[in-house]
């Protein structure tokens, strides 16, 4: 299963792209996070959340989504 990963705000700046496709398999949100932190080491310095199919999810959740968003700290308002 191919997943589309989108990068927002500061994370888009760190990865240098707004999205990419991954073909690797991940058990949990946490394992995808670890994978991406290895690929983009600057992510280690940042707290970020992951959304699956437009729902923000816990790190411990099973990874089931095909659209994954990386969301840096919220700073609206």
């Amino acid at each position: 299963m191919k997943i589309k990963v989108r990068y927002f705000g500061q994370i888009k700046e760190i990865t240098g792209k707004s999205d990419e496709y991954l073909v690797e398999q991940f058990e949990t949100v946490q394992s995808l996070k670890s994978f991406l932190k290895k690929r983009y080491p600057e992510l280690n310095a940042l707290n970020f959340k992951i959304a699956q199919d437009n729902k923000i999810d816990e790190d411990s959740s099973h990874l089931h989504g095909t659209l994954i968003d990386l969301l840096p700290p919220f700073s609206g308002g």
Partner: protein, 146 residues
């Protein structure tokens, strides 16, 4: 009746004329006795000798609108409000301009005071909106909410 999910985002700054139009629009709602409006304005903060000239906002708009919808419904259940309007800018908003507009109305003043601060705090905390503070020399940093 299930409420439709509204789009809170507007491109660029929120002009004072839009706020006036929104107020004027409520003059036919003659059960309303109290309005309370919060406006967020971009500050020209000084950081290490540099001055913020604008904030560029981006968002995961689908999640932001969905979460805002849930906050809106919860607030209507909790407080006796007649109306609630929420707008947030996307893109560039210059220092001194308005980027955030939250407007609640009720028959009496207590519900508007009780709900507005909670609503503003919830929106700032829970909506995936990202502010990039651009300095006068075009360098930037990412905004962190206090």
């Amino acid at each position: 009746m299930k409420q439709k999910i509204k789009n809170i985002f507007v491109e660029g700054a929120i002009p004072p004329s839009k706020i006036a139009a929104s107020i004027a629009h409520h003059q036919e709602k003659t059960k309303i006795g109290a309005h309370n409006i919060f406006l967020g304005q971009v500050r020209a903060d000084q950081i290490e000798g540099k001055t913020v000239s604008a904030i560029e906002y981006s968002a995961q708009t689908e999640i932001a609108n969905q979460v805002c919808h849930e906050i809106r419904e919860a607030t209507f259940s909790k407080y006796d409000l007649s109306c609630m309007h929420i707008y947030h800018s996307l893109g560039k908003v210059k220092a001194g301009e308005i980027c955030f507009f939250v407007f609640v109305s009720s028959a009496h003043r207590k519900p508007v005071f009780d709900s507005l601060a909670e609503l503003v705090n919830d929106i700032k905390e829970k909506l995936p909106i990202f502010g990039k503070e651009v300095f006068e020399d075009q360098s930037h940093q990412w905004k962190v909410n206090q």
